[in-house]
Point group: C2
Chain length 215, copies 2
DNA sequence: TTGAAAGTTGAACCACCATTCAAGTTTATT
DNA sequence: AATAAACTTGAATGGTGGTTCAACTTTCAA
């Protein structure tokens, strides 16, 4: 779960021994589960430490406060979403020059897969609106900016309408987020790929130049 | 603010005198502001009563608990969003037989107007995910169901693709919600009508039958 | 091996509310 | 005017849960 192995976690005090690193990881994992299940306020520090099988006091060896832990988790989740999509898109570009729509479809499909494996992200990102508003805005503004870049690249290439602007990115993001909530988090029975291809079709004749859309 | 004048509020004890009705209204309005500004947990009962200029104890004359008040507010907000959009769409149908896209555009425009006048809705609905999960699901499932009905009516009329299904409704809802967050709640400088027409164009060639989209 | 640094432990502290309640005031009714 | 019902008031209660801390154990380095 959570990020890689060795880089230091924002907001957490960096452990100096192997034992410390193990404890920190246990705390982060337990916290992700607790916050995902109960939300920030209902999850107590003691519920987190006992899930992690660590003493209450140890918590404060690694975090200044319950808030600091939550903020660390938001950052971690946010950057995981980002890098997950980025690597899926990157992989796609390895082989051929994909169309802008291929890119969006793959980005959504990878997001859906990620969300169904980490259903906590929704609750954690959502609750950051109240616990860490700056991180909340940063998450969505950053995501929208990345989408907009892709769309503008598509416009540049002549595949998408030259009028694409910020609002289009927010519309795409909204679609993706809600499809994820409904079909990755709330239920699993639908195939992610089907959902992604529905979204693709919506975009296909929506932001493609109409002269090409008619084909 | 909040609902009309005389109907009883779900979850609140109905006052029997004019003085009581006035106090209840003050509490509901103060609560909407407090919850909107601080969120459910950071807003204390005493902060609500003192904003309403009412004694702490009076709160419990009208509500069984802080939770009950919040639930009343969620229901109120949810049904206000619903009826606001419904009446805008209803008004549109008075004059002529509008196209399915006209209907969606008007529904979004009215939602954006409503959201910019009631920026609290976002935080209240969002936080209901943690405070009253049943209401949270009900809100989004209900909204999606209403959108789907409209889309299916459009399909019936031959204007929209016959394949429209639940996922399309969720995609539209996601678009609308995020456009509202960005352009009605977070900033105001853009014209709601411009945003609604951008969304309309996205849908226009996305869910319109391609034979017609080519025109 | 040994001392210092790192990490662990859980009881105790404390601040913060949600909620209760008994005593008071206002309003409606006859 | 008189009485009951409705409503108001804010101090007191009780529980929760974040945070601190001093004693203890483990790990690391020389």
């Amino acid at each position: 779960m959570t990020a890689k192995g060795s880089e230091s976690i924002a907001g957490a005090k960096t452990p100096r021994t192997a034992r410390g690193r193990k404890t920190l990881r246990k705390l982060l994992d337990a916290a992700a589960v607790e916050f995902g299940e109960k939300g920030f306020h209902a999850a107590s520090v003691i519920s987190i430490t006992s899930r992690a099988e660590v003493a209450l006091g140890s918590f404060y060896t690694y975090f200044d406060s319950k808030d600091a832990l939550f903020q660390a988790l938001v950052q971690d989740m946010s950057s995981q979403v980002k890098s997950h999509a980025a690597s899926a898109v990157g992989a796609l570009k390895e082989n051929a020059e994909p169309s802008a729509l291929d890119v969006e479809e793959v980005a959504l499909a990878s997001f859906l897969r990620f969300a169904s494996e980490h259903k906590e992200i929704y609750r954690i990102i959502d609750e950051s609106e109240f616990v860490d508003p700056v991180a909340y805005r940063a998450h969505y503004e950053g995501t929208a900016a990345r989408i907009l870049e892709r769309l503008q690249a598509g416009a540049q290439a002549g595949e998408l309408s030259p009028d694409v602007e910020e609002a289009h990115a927010w519309a795409v993001m909204g679609m993706n987020v809600f499809l994820g909530l409904r079909y990755a988090v709330w239920s699993q029975d639908n195939d992610s790929l089907d959902i992604a291809s529905i979204a693709r079709k919506i975009l296909e004749k929506g932001i493609t130049q109409s002269s090409r859309a008619s084909r």
